[in-house]
């Protein structure tokens, strides 16, 4: 460690695919001593559903690798394991700067992530999350609570993952007014609709294929009934357009009722049907919409795309891959760096 390096102690909450991805990326970061951003992240605890591992000095990259090899449950570790310790206890009692919340999504109650995040705020810790649930159900509340406790909440892994949609709109379009945003924000449904439209495959076969390829979950409701897209719409709407809405305010229709006939019919008009999420001044919605092939939004396969309609700079479209585990984990690193920079300017001001 060289002089002037800034330590950032991190508690990782959730040890699934994204959680493991985060440890991989951070472990690599430890080894990159040539980094000139003076950033030294250390994982001081990992909390999962059945316990935690804690090391106030930070786990070495070898140890993180060992956890991953050994697999579930992480709390079984003889040296650092705390078998019955809950994530809430860890968040409250372990000293750290940032909580990385990557537990599974729950769009009914947003738990346990919602409690994790509020507990973190109350104990003065910053939060990076990739979990859409708490944001979809209580984003205005959470941003207010973060501000009240003078901490940061970052969530770029929730929308776009690898494609920096949130940052693009917030930073690159600053000064302009975004009048409407519209996007294909879910790779799974886009894959299914593309297969149906291009290869004349039935909905069920396309879904089964998507599951085989690992694009769709075994329980695909979140994707095909439009909830995942709706969650992203809520986040975009709050963060970029300043509209304080929650999931209840979004009018949601999934793709179950899109038939091959409808798709064939749209071809006659040089169009196809996509699951589009939209927010404008009046309302937020998610529904299958017929769009022209020439529309820049019209991307195929697992690609995502979003068009920002601005007051002065007209339409801007971003296209990128939907997120897998490692893309999402990279968004976590982006957020951690952002917090580190924000903290630096805050301390100086």
């Amino acid at each position: 460690m060289y002089v002037g390096e800034v330590d950032m102690r991190i508690i990782l909450v959730g040890y699934g695919i994204v959680g493991k991805g985060v440890t991989t990326i951070l472990a690599n970061k430890y080894l990159e001593k040539n980094t000139n951003c003076r950033f030294n992240p250390k994982i001081v605890a990992i909390a999962d559903i059945d316990g935690a591992v804690i090391n106030s000095q930070g786990f070495s990259s070898e140890k993180l690798e060992a956890f991953k090899q050994k697999g579930y449950p992480v709390s079984a570790d003889a040296e650092f394991g705390h078998k019955s310790m809950s994530a809430l206890e860890v968040i409250e009692s372990v000293e750290a700067e940032v909580i990385v919340e990557v537990t599974p999504v729950n769009i009914k109650t947003a738990e346990p992530a919602l409690s994790h995040i509020t507990k973190a705020f109350k104990s003065g810790k910053h939060v990076v999350t990739t979990n859409k649930g708490p944001l979809a159900l209580a984003m205005p509340a959470l941003t207010e609570l973060a501000e009240h406790n003078n901490v940061f909440l970052r969530f770029s892994g929730t929308v776009g993952g690898g494609t920096p949609m949130l940052e693009f709109a917030k930073r690159c379009l600053v000064g302009d007014k975004i009048l409407r945003l519209q996007g294909i924000l879910n790779g799974t449904t886009n894959y299914i609709l593309s297969e149906m439209g291009q290869n004349n495959m039935s909905f069920q076969d396309a879904l089964t294929n998507a599951q085989k390829m690992g694009y769709a979950e075994r329980e695909p409701t979140m994707d095909i009934d439009g909830f995942d897209t709706a969650c992203k719409i809520v986040i975009l709407s709050n963060w970029i357009m300043g509209k304080k809405i929650t999931l209840r305010d979004v009018d949601i229709t999934g793709i179950r009722d899109v038939t091959l006939e409808m798709l064939k019919d749209s071809v006659k008009r040089n169009s196809t049907i996509k699951l589009i999420g939209t927010v404008d001044n009046n309302k937020a919605s998610v529904k299958p919409v017929e769009i022209s092939w020439s529309d820049p939004l019209c991307v195929s396969g697992v690609l995502n795309a979003i068009t920002f309609r601005t007051e002065y700079a007209a339409d801007q479209t971003l296209i990128g891959r939907g997120a897998g585990g490692i893309e999402t984990a990279s968004a976590v690193l982006r957020d951690l760096l952002d917090i580190r920079h924000k903290l630096a300017s805050k301390l100086l001001s």
Partner: protein
């Protein structure tokens, strides 16, 4: 089904008989509305709690015992006349007794420590509403309505930790209130929520301060997205002026949020602007009604006043117990920051300035402050700015004055209005000591001698036909 908040003030829940009436109102409307009830403490209890808390820090233990006995008696009496059903009566008695035991412990603690922090003060004051709510709740249950008691904290109202004057974290509160009351309301239940009190994010009791239980009502109204907020009180609504001064005073059937905020100078009978904040943003109408005459429709406060009433002047108020303070000093002329020094001295000494008037010559500032604060204000300004700074050359005061405020949204841009008002005063041979009108033009305020106050109010009330609306 339409949703309403019904807030009942201290007099409306002042006695057991009144509480019975409150329960009847709730049960009558519960057929057509989903109701959330917000209650104040029984009349006088909050002030008494504050007083006793203040005395407790001076370590008088016998006083605590006497007070809690008296408080228990008062609430038991209320229970016995509000609730007829014996088992229910017993149940509520039990709840109240338990709360009073807790209060006694707190007061004894303050007594031993000999210190009353803002935090413990809020806690003590919260007992007023914590005691009244179970009684109101019991009385409503007696009418076979599923009612349940919630403290502000249980209902999900979260504030910052500014004890005594806590500000709600509105978005977080909206989220929690929906979560905590939503399902119960959907099932047809009637939540009875303690007004005035809330909690910070760590669950420590806070009070919302200015605006009080009305503020709680409007916060809940916004969180639950209700159709209207009804403030039940002991008057018919907001009047054109104080009926004690002018018997011809009339009820104002409709007002805008802005006008209603101006009416705050009428004092306890109107709503504090702070309480109007949440609803005016969310555009939820507020209705002020008389719980002793529930058949009357009261005053409706909405975004826009009704179109057909284009009348410029809506109301006239007289504000008493004030004094005029004049600060003179040639050194203030053209000196940036000189006024800041004057107001800084007053602010630091906790003196609120109600009205200000300065002519373009800049050599003299006139302001209205509470009469009880006058000596303190004079001495502080003289000490800070006359002796040391030399900024001020003379401080004078008049303590036999009142403010007359003429109010109305359509006064804006209405030509000749000021001339008419001052003409009325001049015709009575009365001198005006000071004048102020902000650019919002909702309010023209001026100062006359106290002995002339009532005559001026009567004359303006009559000349602007306020008795004929």
């Amino acid at each position: 089904m339409k949703k309403v908040i019904m807030k009942f003030g201290g007099t409306s829940v002042g006695t057991g008989k009144n509480i019975r009436q409150v329960a009847d109102i709730v049960s009558q409307y519960s057929k057509d509305y989903r109701i959330t009830v917000v209650v104040s403490a029984l009349a006088g209890v909050t002030n008494k709690l504050l007083e006793v808390a203040g005395q407790a820090q001076k370590s008088d233990e016998t006083l605590i015992k006497n007070f809690t006995e008296e408080l228990l008696q008062k609430h038991k009496e209320a229970i016995s006349s509000a609730i007829v059903n014996k088992p229910l009566q017993q149940e509520v008695n039990g709840i109240v007794e338990k709360i009073i035991v807790e209060l006694e412990k707190i007061l004894t603690g303050i007594c031993y420590v000999g210190e009353l922090t803002p935090k413990s003060k809020d806690y003590v004051v919260s007992f007023g509403e914590r005691l009244s709510a179970p009684i109101v709740c019991g009385a409503i249950q007696e009418d076979n309505i599923e009612a349940r008691c919630f403290t502000g904290k249980d209902a999900g109202i979260v504030t910052d930790s500014n004890f005594g004057e806590a500000n709600p974290l509105m978005n977080y509160t909206m989220h929690l209130v929906c979560e905590k009351l939503g399902a119960f309301l959907e099932k047809g239940g009637v939540p009875v929520v303690t007004g005035f009190i809330a909690a910070n994010q760590d669950g420590v009791v806070t009070t919302v301060g200015r605006g009080g239980s009305d503020y709680t009502a409007t916060i809940l109204g916004v969180a639950l997205e209700v159709d209207e907020v009804w403030i039940w009180t002991d008057v018919d609504g907001i009047m054109t002026t104080d009926p004690k001064l002018v018997p011809a005073a009339k009820l104002l059937p409709q007002l805008s949020y802005q006008e209603a905020a101006e009416m705050a100078i009428f004092g306890a009978k109107a709503m504090h602007p702070r309480a109007l904040g949440p609803v005016s943003k969310a555009n939820i109408p507020v209705r002020i009604r008389n719980s002793f005459q529930p058949e009357k429709t009261g005053t409706l406060i909405t975004k826009e006043p009704v179109a057909n009433v284009k009348q410029a002047v809506k109301a006239v108020a007289m504000i008493k117990d004030l004094a005029m303070l004049n600060v003179n000093g040639a050194a203030m002329v053209g000196a940036p920051g000189s006024y800041t020094k004057v107001f800084d001295v007053l602010g630091k000494n906790n003196i609120n300035v109600m009205m200000i008037s300065v002519a373009a010559s800049e050599a003299n500032i006139s302001m209205m402050i509470k009469r009880s604060m006058l000596s303190r204000a004079i001495s502080n300004i003289e000490t800070a700015l006359l002796e040391h700074g030399g900024l001020v050359s003379e401080v004078t005061a008049e303590d036999d004055v009142v403010v007359i405020a003429v109010i109305g949204a359509h006064m804006k841009g209405s030509l000749g209005l000021a001339s008419k008002i001052f003409d009325i005063v001049a015709k009575k041979g009365i001198n005006i000591r000071m004048i102020a009108q902000g650019s919002s033009e909702l309010n023209i305020s001026f100062v006359v001698k106290e002995k002339d106050g009532v005559e001026v109010v009567k004359a303006i009330h009559e000349e602007f036909d306020l008795d004929k609306t």
